[in-house]
Amino acid sequence: MTDREFLRLALAHLPRLLRFARRLCGDPDRAEDLVQETYIRALKVRRHLRDQGALLPWLLRVLHTRYLDETRTETRRLELLAAGPPALPPATADLERELLEGTLSAEVEAALLALPEDQRAAILLADVEGLSYEEIGQVLGCPVGTVRSRIARARARLFEALSATAHARRSHRGRSSP
């Protein structure tokens, strides 16, 4: 397969790579740079791709590795050590309704960006890209059990953050109403 043929196959996944990059880093310009670097890197190391059918997870892995190279910090490791078993905070009917109605998009995006990177990547790959836990494990280079734990932790944190936001909004509305 020539570089051109490989590129043509890889470009079929461009929208999904860009979507993942955009949500991973939260910046459209940076996402385009990240995607460009991903394709450059992919062309260089494409001989390592063993299964053509797994091109998308492989490209996502190249992208994620590149992103980590740029952003790796000590805080990420500390997060893993400090985290306890995940649990859902108490239910609030308003929050569920707002989630279902899609009125919390900005809050959800902000809460996603505040997640530790490994949790953010895992939940994005599951919920946005619809990858199986096995495929997410391939992208992130970790066992399925770790994927499962990261996604559950991410969801617990998102609920915590969104509950706090919803509570603050209700308090604000209560104060400002006559």
Partner: protein, 244 residues
Amino acid sequence: MNACPDLESLSAEVDGALPEPQRSRLRGHLALCETCREGRTRLVALKAAVRGSQPDQHPSPRLRERLEALAPPGPEARPSGSRRLAIAVAMTAASAGALSFVASMVARRPAGDGLASHLVDDHINNALRHDKPLHIVSADPAEVERWFSGNVDFAVSLPRLPGATLVGGRTCTIAGRRVALTFYDIRERRVSLFVMPPEGREDPPCTDGVRGFSVCRRRVHGVDYALVGDLPAEQARRLLEQGL
């Protein structure tokens, strides 16, 4: 399953990632436990909210062009024997007038058009794909200039591009001449700066339309400087202007 499942199991079930027989046990529990059913409903709502939290971003035309340029199509396949014969006959039959028309069209192509394309090719292969190694690695412009003095047949004087860090350089061939090709990093972008004897028209307008890359050229003291990268053409123009 009597005890309520942990969040990991519930979350995996929502993703369809809980293996049997845990999945059947959990579903049996959900049928009896309202608290866990509510928890599952919240997880489903959250999953939908994460999926819909942002509209999809469409790749910009520039990004597409730059990616396509990473592996450009090769030369078209040679025509088959019978097609070659037909083409030869057609060429022989072509009138002198038609040939002179073609010649005039070629002559009217803007000078330097092919040059910009060539510069972008070299930028992609050297600065982005790193197909060829650097001959000199140094952030010191004086050291890089000294190295070029023994490797190209004209004096190379490197500009101090504001906000850019010199990485090094190598020689390459443009229009049959050996020229200096240097690389700078601007934040995390790598740009190529070609330093070469005058070629084509002087100071053509900067463009960012060469397969998604910007090309900006300036002639100073009889030497052409061409800055090539994926930065906006206006930024490239300002960099060159301030640096030279």
